[in-house]
Each structure stands twice: as structure tokens, then as C-alpha cells.
């Protein structure tokens, strides 16, 4: 008797759980305006939504006076598992006569980057971030090797 009750219970439970799934897909079916698919090539300049968290490329933000925060410490270069980053530093003489290492070129090879974000985590100055841009393809592979610091940019000194 107990086996029979269990059998009927199983059947009823099965139908209940199946109906849950059916209701969910029916809900999706009858509300096509809530679909999450982007009409990409048409809406690339209008309604496209890329989340802020999306990691598309590494950028080195500059402020309005063309200053960045990179001290050329090369921690990001060491953190990078793919050898994507190459920091070329230069030594200049400061106003007080001390020799000082400054950033010359922040070379970023986008073709080798896997967007793991370890360079961003490693940076002690928060100089680099991930940007959510995604239309990054180029015709020439050499164009993927970018210099992130703008020409003539300087280190932004910390206001202590």
C-alpha cells in the first residue's frame, strides 16, 4: 500500500515540477518585449547596453591636465601572466637634482591580453582600470600593440 501511495506521489510530483518549467518558458514566450538579446549592429550607437564590469581592454586614465598615476613600478608587468604589458621607463633629473624613474611608454599588447585583470589588482596606485569597450578589432596585428600613456603626459603627484 505504501508503495502505491509513493508511486502516485511520484507521478504527481513529477507533473508538478514539469509544470513549473512549462510555466517559466510560457512566461518568456508571451513577453517578447522583455527579451535580453541586443540587436547589435543596428543599435551600436543607440540603445546598446554593455555592463560597466565588462572587461574589454586595459586603459590608463588621464586627467584633464594630461596626467596619469603610473609610477612605472612594473608590478603590473610582473603580475601579467601573458607578457602583455611592457613598461619602458626613463630616468630624469628632478628639480631637486635627484634622479627619478618615470614612465616613458606603457606598451600594451591587446592581442595577448586575456582580460584577467591581474594587472589592475596588482597596481598600487590604481593607475590602470578595465574599460567596457568591445569593438577592438583591427586589420593589422601591429595595431593591437598600443602605447597607453598619451604623448607629453606626466605623473600626477600625490597631494600629501
Amino acid at each position: 500500500m505504501r508503495a502505491l501511495i509513493q508511486y502516485i506521489k511520484d507521478v504527481a510530483q513529477g507533473f508538478y515540477s514539469l509544470s513549473q518549467g512549462l510555466l517559466l518558458t510560457l512566461k518568456y514566450f508571451v513577453r517578447p518585449w522583455k527579451h535580453i538579446v541586443e540587436q547589435y549592429p543596428e543599435n551600436r550607437t543607440t540603445t546598446i547596453y554593455i555592463p560597466e564590469k565588462f572587461a574589454g581592454e586595459v586603459v590608463l586614465p588621464h586627467d584633464e591636465n594630461n596626467r596619469h598615476k603610473c609610477t612605472a613600478c612594473t608590478l603590473c608587468e610582473m603580475a601579467c601572466p601573458n607578457g602583455t604589458i611592457k613598461i619602458i621607463s626613463a630616468t630624469i633629473e628632478g628639480e631637486d637634482g635627484k634622479k627619478k624613474k618615470v614612465l616613458d611608454k606603457w606598451v600594451y599588447n591587446l592581442g595577448m591580453c586575456t582580460m584577467c585583470g591581474q594587472c589592475v589588482d596588482a597596481c598600487p596606485q590604481d593607475a590602470i582600470t578595465m574599460k567596457n569597450s568591445f569593438e577592438l578589432s583591427v586589420y593589422n596585428r601591429n595595431d593591437l600593440i598600443k602605447v597607453l600613456n598619451k604623448p607629453g603626459s606626466k605623473l600626477k603627484e600625490k597631494e600629501s
Binding site: L18, G21, L24, T25, Y28, F29, P32, K34, H35, V37
Partner: protein, 361 residues
């Protein structure tokens, strides 16, 4: 009736015109050709609609949009796919059994067409009104499994053979409960002829006037029918993630297209039988006592009723396909032999009891 020209008038007119212009033998022959062409046209149109509907339903249920690039709302997508298949080479690997390999898709397709013969689409629009219509459909549609086994065996490929064997096991077992659920209605109606079954539903469809046993039989039939057409969640015969494409792995071009078309024709046959047996065929929906409502329902042409119901059941099958995960082979056989078959046998016994006691309408 507001519709004065019946389909039977049209067929009668064709018959008389042909007989007036040629000898009876040639007239019969040209009638056969006309009927065949009409059936092929109907099936092709239905298949195009089904494929488009399938892709749209699939898209909408997965929060996508379905095809929408080729033509307005993607309506030309199906034609693009068909022309692609037509232009491709029907390639056969070197080690296949050439005769069986080329014959299998034709057999499967021919069987699927044959099963359409006794179906009544509208009053008078029926190819062959035989007295064992339902038996014929169930018998003929089970020949299709031979074509599938043939395709799997002749491909000389382990995946194909596994898929074909699975398909055989599945179709042979699910035919039992599909047949038993049809038996429930046949017992109440007392006839195997499709026109008789439809005529017996003039005062109410069997699903309504047959009480709980027929409703249960309907559910079992839809499940078993989905399994018989090898569609998800019972698509073990194809099982993309396990068997590449199952029994039609080695087929390409239009030979593959024939298997693809067959799937949709089988779906159409299953849903047309379900429509005829459970949902009153081409009869309109009536509520007893509401005469104004009934008159409005009568105004809708019968072929719209028939295809509307067919498409409803097709939608049910698509809904299942894009909701449920695939069953394992042991779960599939367990569902049939431990759940559906015992329950449908009990159901048939209850129906028989109702019929003997005269407790049905």
C-alpha cells in the same frame, strides 16, 4: 451553413470534368496524380510553417528573437535553409551500404506521407475514407522505424547504429501507450473510421464528453506522440551532445533534408490524429446552450478549425521540446514501461467499464 461551396462539391466537380473529357481509367489516374500533388504541396507548406514556427518558438522561449534577418521577420530563413540543402552534395562515405543508405531517407519520407492518407482535413476533404483509418495510421507510422534502423545500420558508424537502436527501442515501446490511449476513444466511439470518429463528436469533443479517462488518454497520447517523433525530451535517437546526430550523422544535403522534413511530417501526423480523435477534428467548438456563441463558432471555416487545433498541439510539442531536458535511455524506458503503460491499461479498463455500463454520452 454560410459556406455554400463545400470541398466535396469541388472534388465532385473535378471528378465529373475529368470523366467527361477522358476515359474512366485515365480520369482515375489523373485524380491520383492531382491528389498526390495536392498532398505534397500541403505537406511542404506545413513543413515550412512548422520549421519557421519551431525556430521562432525556440527563440522566444530562450529569450531570443529567432530568425529575423532573412526577409521580413525572418520568414525567408526557411527557404534559404532549404535551398542550401538542395545545393549541397548528397555525399555518401565509401564504406556505407550504398543501396540501403540511399533508400532509407526515401522510405522514411514515403511512410510519413502514407500516414497522411486517411486524415480528414475538412468535410469532404479526405484522400481515403477507409473503415480502419486510425489503425492504418498507427500501423503505417510504425514502419518509419525500419527506415531509421536502415539509415543507422547502413551508415557503418557506431553513433548512427546506437541512435537507430535507441530509436527502435523507443518507438516500439511508446507505440503501446499511444495505441492504448487511442483505444480508449475508439471504445467509446465504437468505430475506427476517421469520419465516424469526427461525426461522433458533433455534440462535444471527446476530450470534454469523455470525462477524466479521455483527458488522461490525451495527455498520454501527447507524451507518447512526442516520443514517437523522436523529439526532445525524447530525442535520444539524435542526441546531439552524445551521438553527433544519431541515425542521420552520415547524411548530408537533401538526404538529410528528407529526415528533417520527415520529423515535421510525423509531428503533423501525430497532432492531426490527436486533433481528430480528441479535439473533434474539423468540428467547431460548441458550448451547450450558448446558441449565439455556437453560431459565431460555426462561421469559422472547418479547415481553419482543423489546422488551428493541429497547430495548437504542435505548439505543445515545441513547448515541451524547448523546456525539458533530455531523458536518459533507462529513464525513457522506465517512464514508458513503469508509468505510462500500466496507467493506460488501467485507463482502458475504466473506459471499457464505462462503455459496458453505458455511462458515456
Amino acid at each position: 451553413m454560410t459556406l455554400t461551396i463545400q470541398f466535396s462539391d469541388i472534388t465532385k466537380w473535378i471528378h465529373e470534368t475529368l470523366n467527361a473529357s477522358m476515359s474512366p481509367g485515365w480520369a482515375l489516374f489523373s485524380e491520383f496524380v492531382l491528389a498526390g500533388v495536392a498532398m505534397i504541396l500541403l505537406v511542404v507548406v506545413l513543413a515550412v510553417l512548422f520549421v519557421y514556427m519551431e525556430r521562432k518558438v525556440a527563440g522566444f522561449m530562450q529569450l531570443r528573437l529567432g530568425p529575423h534577418r532573412v526577409g521580413p521577420w525572418g520568414t525567408m530563413q526557411v527557404f534559404a535553409d532549404v535551398f542550401k540543402l538542395l545545393l549541397k552534395e548528397s555525399f555518401a562515405p565509401f564504406t556505407v551500404d550504398k543501396f540501403l543508405f540511399n533508400f532509407a531517407p526515401i522510405l522514411v519520407l514515403a511512410v510519413a506521407f502514407m500516414a497522411m492518407a486517411p486524415i480528414s482535413f475538412a468535410p469532404g476533404l479526405q484522400l481515403w475514407d477507409m473503415n480502419i483509418g486510425i489503425l492504418y495510421v498507427t500501423a503505417v507510422s510504425s514502419i518509419g522505424v525500419i527506415g531509421i534502423l536502415m539509415a543507422g545500420w547502413s551508415s557503418n558508424n557506431k553513433y548512427s547504429l546506437l541512435g537507430a537502436m535507441r530509436s527502435g527501442a523507443q518507438i516500439v515501446s511508446y507505440e503501446l501507450s499511444a495505441g492504448l490511449s487511442l483505444v480508449a476513444v475508439i471504445a467509446m466511439c465504437g468505430s475506427l473510421s476517421i469520419s465516424d470518429i469526427i461525426a461522433s463528436q458533433a455534440d462535444g469533443w471527446w476530450i470534454f464528453k469523455g470525462h477524466l479517462p479521455i483527458m488522461f488518454a490525451f495527455v498520454v497520447y501527447v507524451i507518447a506522440g512526442t516520443a514517437e517523433t523522436n523529439r526532445a525530451p525524447f530525442d535520444l535517437a539524435e542526441a546531439e551532445s552524445e551521438l553527433t546526430a544519431g541515425y542521420h550523422t552520415e547524411f548530408s544535403g537533401m538526404q538529410f533534408g528528407m529526415f528533417y522534413l520527415t520529423e515535421y511530417i510525423n509531428m503533423a501526423v501525430i497532432s492531426m490524429v490527436a486533433t481528430t480523435v480528441f479535439l473533434g477534428g474539423w468540428l467547431p467548438f460548441h458550448i451547450y446552450g450558448f446558441d449565439a456563441f455556437n453560431n459565431v463558432m460555426n462561421f469559422i471555416p472547418s479547415w481553419i478549425w482543423f489546422f488551428g487545433k493541429t497547430f495548437f498541439i504542435i505548439f505543445l510539442m515545441m513547448w515541451f521540446r524547448w523546456t525539458f531536458p533530455r531523458l536518459r535511455i533507462d529513464q525513457l524506458l522506465k517512464l514508458e514501461w513503469k508509468y505510462l503503460l500500466p496507467l493506460s491499461i488501467i485507463n482502458v479498463v475504466i473506459v471499457a467499464f464505462l462503455v459496458v455500463m453505458g455511462w458515456h454520452f
